[in-house]
Amino acid sequence: MPEPKKMHIEIDKKSCKRCGICQGLCPQQVYTLAKDGSPEVTNPERCTNCHLCDLRCPDFAITLEVLA
């Protein structure tokens, strides 16, 4: 299993079109969807920096930053 990393995950709400791909396909369940369908970063401590969410975001809305 890949080790979780200390991460900062930023979602640019102006670019996000609420497709749900980040939340639906993150292997670590880092995201949850709010009532309006927009993704929230609720479990950043689980993130392994696998880059599947930012590479699969069709709207360039996700930025991952390794803090430590």
Binding site: K17, G20, I21, L25, R56
Partner: protein
Amino acid sequence: MALSYKDYLEPSQLPHMWCPGCGDGIILRAYTEALAELELAPKDVVTVTGIGCWGKADDYVSTQAFHGTHGRALAFATGIKTANPDLTVVTLMGDGDAVTIGGNHFIHAARRNINLTAIVTNNYNYGMTGGQYSATTPLKSKTTTSPNGVAEPGFDVCFLAEAAGANFVARTTVYHAVALKNLIKEAILHPGFSLVEVISPCPTYFGRFNVHPSPVNMMNWLKDKAVPVQKYREMSAEEQYEHFAVGKIVVKERPDFYTTYQRINGGQVAAEEGDGNGR
């Protein structure tokens, strides 16, 4: 300083016009990531588009760009590459552009083995004009022009390129985003005509009529359909019908058009050298 995919995008033109969950944005990300990892200067890359949902992509990139007519991206790209072989030339097309309207340019670019890269997004229909069937729509699939299911089989884009003579032929999906970026890099580096076919969701039309309108379900559908090429070759015809092969399908070293042209017109072609096809 290391380049980022953002160096290849035009922020003033974003967000793009594509629907929520459309695979086009994932492919544009992979393409710009690949350019950044190859450290190609935006001024040395020409992105060529035609018409369709991909027809807007030339506005979104900061590379050199050329927006041509429907189906003709490869014809313009052929001219650009032949006139200036030092440029990296990449066409971004959908299945309508590449193998339906532009099928003739597609087979001839592969036959000539022009040293450029075609990234063909196959979402099995004409999205931009309202979800009509294209030459890749699978048999019996529903589209706005085949409400009971289309009565024609679709082209296998990779086998078409292989039969026409392409040097590098690969297929993947937007679900496999890391493989996608790596295949685009390899295709750009490989001499001769390179094709990366990307199976991609159009949730708005093909997905809604045939699979599911949800982008997440479309992504999981791609995962279930995709089979590594070796495994695909061992499948029965019935199993193959339900799947498609992903990975590198052709990798060969036939001399590209420009190299052969220079040799012939420089008078340096030895009679025994032939054209690589035993002739």
